[in-house]
């Protein structure tokens, strides 16, 4: 019996990507079943699946104390590969197949406007929260604002302008909170904000900006909208890393010294 268990463990660890496919298949199946039976399809199966994924990530974090959610459990490390940047980007680019380029062009201008508005808004709101918690130096205010943009803009900005590691950690946490909330809330709020067409999806991607949040939020709202939101969101982090340590930091420094 012990032998069987050990053999299985070795196989699981050696074939971790296959383990991920099997587990994700089962998760999606259960989620669509629950969506059908419990909510009569009102709550999209993928929304439930993403929520289960987040719960798994939380459990993984508690068990291993690692940073990669459930993927820190050795036998489940394939989930990290499957959900990592490489395959995720491959899949997201593939969703653009069959989309007409004119759709992007038609909403290009409002998409660009959304990007700048979204980045400015995140810095303003995040910075204001930092200020209200007693942070008075420009570097900390900017870094926490940057984290409210995305959890990548936060540490990139923070290390560029010399924020403390404690503040940088806070900025990552703020970005994670944002990504997770966008994943969970989007399917519920989509109807109220008119998120049901390519143009709205491009605005959504540009203002939210958090890649994982936007991609998962749109997937659980209407998968057809994914390429449009992804198109603008993909510029957000880079643009945030560009503006944060430069223009925005200088602006905040002139206010707070």
């Amino acid at each position: 019996m012990l032998n069987a268990f050990q053999s299985l463990e070795i196989v699981l660890i050696k074939n971790s990507l296959l383990v991920a496919f099997a587990i994700m298949g089962a998760t999606v199946w259960i989620s669509y079943f629950l969506s059908d039976r419990l909510t009569q399809g009102r709550l999209h199966g993928s929304a439930i699946a993403i929520f289960i994924g987040l719960v798994m990530a939380c459990i993984g974090g508690i068990i291993t104390n690692g940073k990669q959610g459930i993927a820190d459990i050795t036998a489940l490390s394939g989930i990290g590969l499957m959900g990592g940047a490489m395959l995720r980007d491959l899949a997201i680019v593939a969703t653009a197949f069959g989309v007409r380029a004119e759709e992007f062009g038609k909403s290009g201008l409002i998409g660009i406007l959304s990007l700048f508005t979204g980045i400015t808004l995140s810095f303003a709101v995040g910075g204001a929260v930092a200020y209200s918690f007693g942070y008075r130096d420009a570097a900390s205010i900017t870094t926490i604002g940057a984290g409210s943009a995305t959890y990548i803009v936060g540490p990139v900005t923070g290390s560029a302008i010399g924020a403390t590691s404690e503040v940088i950690a806070l900025s990552v946490a703020a970005g994670l909170v944002k990504a997770i909330l966008v994943m969970i809330l989007t399917p519920f709020l989509a109807k109220h904000i008119g998120l049901n067409n390519p143009r709205a999806a491009m605005i959504f991607g540009g203002i939210m900006g958090t890649n994982s949040g936007v991609m998962a939020g749109l997937a659980s709202t209407d998968p057809k909208l994914v390429p449009y939101g992804a198109m603008t969101a993909t510029f957000y982090t880079g643009l945030g890393c560009l503006l944060g340590p430069s223009v925005i930091f200088i602006f905040i420094r002139t206010i707070f010294g």
Partner: protein
């Protein structure tokens, strides 16, 4: 051959990410600006061209669409490998900064969608 489609998709992504990184370098940041977006535009342009000259065969398309249709489980795997615990343990500053930003962002999205939205939204 199905592999032609997957190869084309991979080449578009590799090229797009490289261009995005070059754009980032030009702007002086160590990050990629729009790599995935550029890749999408490349894929759309190349596929349109191949379809026009009749070189896009159904198996080639299948090598691309497979990856698009496996998108949701990949996103679920992404969610499962997020550092959710750090978000929950980040304390009040992180929690409020993230939450207020999301709230304000949803409000602005709603505003932008309504402004200048004269034609009735069609189901995309």
């Amino acid at each position: 051959m199905i592999i032609y489609g997957t190869a084309l998709l991979s080449i578009c992504l590799l090229l797009g990410l490289t261009l995005g990184r070059m754009l980032g370098n030009l702007a002086g940041v160590d990050a990629d600006i729009g790599g995935v977006g550029i890749s999408m535009l490349l894929l759309i342009a190349i596929c349109n061209y191949l379809q026009r000259i009749g070189r896009m065969k159904p198996p080639t398309e299948a090598g691309i669409t497979f990856w698009g249709s496996i998108y949701i489980p990949i996103v679920v795997a992404m969610a499962a490998s997020q550092n959710v615990l750090a978000a929950l343990q980040g304390g009040a500053v992180a929690l409020l900064a993230g939450t207020f930003t999301v709230g304000a962002s949803f409000a602005i999205v709603s505003f932008f969608v309504k402004v200048g939205n004269n034609n009735s939204p069609a189901k995309g």
